[in-house]
């Protein structure tokens, strides 16, 4: 290649560089109303229609591309949201459970605050962890035991989510019949072995509330000459050994039965609690229940046997051999023996 042509190229290159720098300098030094900017604006205005056409032509393609990317993003979002929905549904269920549990515990606290329990009564809240597997028995197992201060024959109250009148859903559950370090078995008032000394508010009639295999709760031993109307409230009387403090609501009278051959009325009681949905309970620790409770005397023999003497003449002997627990109750007129394990 001739040298003059190479030089020519270099000259053109340098000229173009200088021209660029000159245009750049002029462009910067001039005001917006200067000729260079005017030319730029004029040319840009010529290009503007083309840009508009370009925009119109490109718009459908851009929309299509945007639609595709959005569709893909939406697909990804849908997958992600489906996962989140599952997690949130789980949380909603969890929160709902917690909410219901809070309601029940609140109801228990309400029972504790408004209930007429003896002064100094302690309360131990417990969760139901098992229930009797058949209708022959009616008991629940709770997650608190002797390590928490619980002992046999402590009264248990509770609340269940049942709509109704003022005391509906709150009342007597039963009593502890067996206890281990971290659990206890609570005999429900619907158990056929259960008997609770009770009275009917409004009529002052007294009797014994007993459970049955059928699940019905009957208040027996009510004198026939005492008038009892349905809808009256049945509460504990506090008699019969002082297991149950007085005035704990049990249920309401739903039916009053009288038989000529029977000297007592048999009153059907509808418990306030729906034991099928019982989940939390509260154990009452009445002051002095360890040794002396309202005239009840407890004597512990070094061999492991505990003898309790009740005011009504009952004597309860509890032995804890290696194989299990044996409870023997000897009233004045009859003898009941319960053996476990």
């Amino acid at each position: 290649m001739p040298r003059n042509k190479v030089a020519w190229r270099r000259v053109v290159f340098v000229v173009l560089i200088i021209a660029s720098l000159a245009v750049l300098t002029v462009s910067f030094r001039q005001t917006q109303s200067g000729p260079v900017h005017a030319i730029q604006r004029g040319t840009a205005s010529l290009l503007a229609p083309m840009q508009t056409w370009g925009d119109r032509i490109a718009q459908p393609f851009q929309d299509g591309y945007h639609w595709l990317t959005t569709l893909w993003a939406a697909h990804k979002d849908a997958e992600r949201l489906a996962g989140e929905v599952q997690v949130l549904q789980g949380k909603v269920i969890e929160l709902q459970e917690q909410s219901e549990e809070n309601e029940r515990l609140k109801s228990l606290l309400d029972l504790k605050d408004k209930g007429t329990f003896p002064n100094g009564t302690g309360f131990v809240a417990a969760r139901v962890i098992a229930k009797s597997p058949n209708k022959w028995q009616a008991w629940v197992e709770i997650d608190k035991g002797s390590a928490d201060g619980l002992a046999v024959d402590m009264a248990v109250v509770g609340s269940t989510p049942v709509a109704g009148e003022a005391l509906a859903g709150k009342g007597l559950v039963g009593k502890i019949v067996s206890v281990t370090a971290h659990s206890a078995q609570v005999q429900l008032i619907t158990d056929s072995e259960s008997s609770v000394y009770a009275k009917i508010q409004g009529s002052r009639a007294e009797g014994i509330v007993e459970g049955s295999v059928s699940g019905r709760v009957i208040m027996d031993y009510v004198d026939r000459d005492i008038s009892v109307d349905p809808k009256l409230v049945v509460v504990t009387s506090g008699y019969g050994g002082g297991i149950y403090p007085p005035d704990i609501p049990i249920g309401i009278v739903v039916n009053v039965g009288e038989e000529d051959v029977n000297s007592y009325k048999a009153i059907e009681v509808q418990p306030f609690l729906d034991f099928r949905v019982l989940e939390e309970v509260m154990v009452l620790i009445v002051p002095g229940s360890d040794d002396t409770l309202g005239g009840v005397t407890t004597t512990t023999v070094p061999g492991g046997s505990t003898t309790t003497t009740w005011p009504a003449g009952l004597t309860t002997t509890t032995t804890v051999p290696a194989s299990g627990t044996t409870t023997t109750t000897t009233p004045a007129s009859s003898t009941t023996t319960t053996t476990e394990g």
Partner: protein
Amino acid sequence: MGRSQLIMAAKVVALLVVAVLLQVIVVSHVSILGVTGDLFLILTVIVAVSRGSLEAAVFGFFAGLIADIAYFSPLGVRSLVYVLAGYLVGVFVARFAISKPWSVVLLSGVTSFLAQFMYGLFQYVMGPRGGFLTMIGTQMLPEMVLDALITAPLYVLFVRTGLLPVRHVEAAQFGGAEE
């Protein structure tokens, strides 16, 4: 100026017009990873490969002016960048006898990166200051790839149609083939 040179000049002017139309109508509306291709620079590279450094520098000068007008940036910035790019690519191609499509694609990508680097330096001095690494990651590298990808079909198209035929140059032993 002979007939063939006039035809070539007309081709270059036509190419410039086509470039403006394509850039304004199509390329500037196709955004990938947030960047759009720079057809003016790509064509400057293709002209440098096909015609040589002088033609590329001239083409780059006018293409830069039009680009500055179209993008409302200070006149002369892109002209300077494209003139340098076109001239240096032309010299490089002549020295190493580059004409294969993949080499052109690679060259276009590298040129795009260097041109943006220059333009970025100018912006850094005159205008808004962005993070260097950020601009490399979000602007320079994506546009480099995009420009390289656009170059491939365009170069093949121009060569096949004979609009810008491939020059047959031999690599210089010492110094450029052109110089």
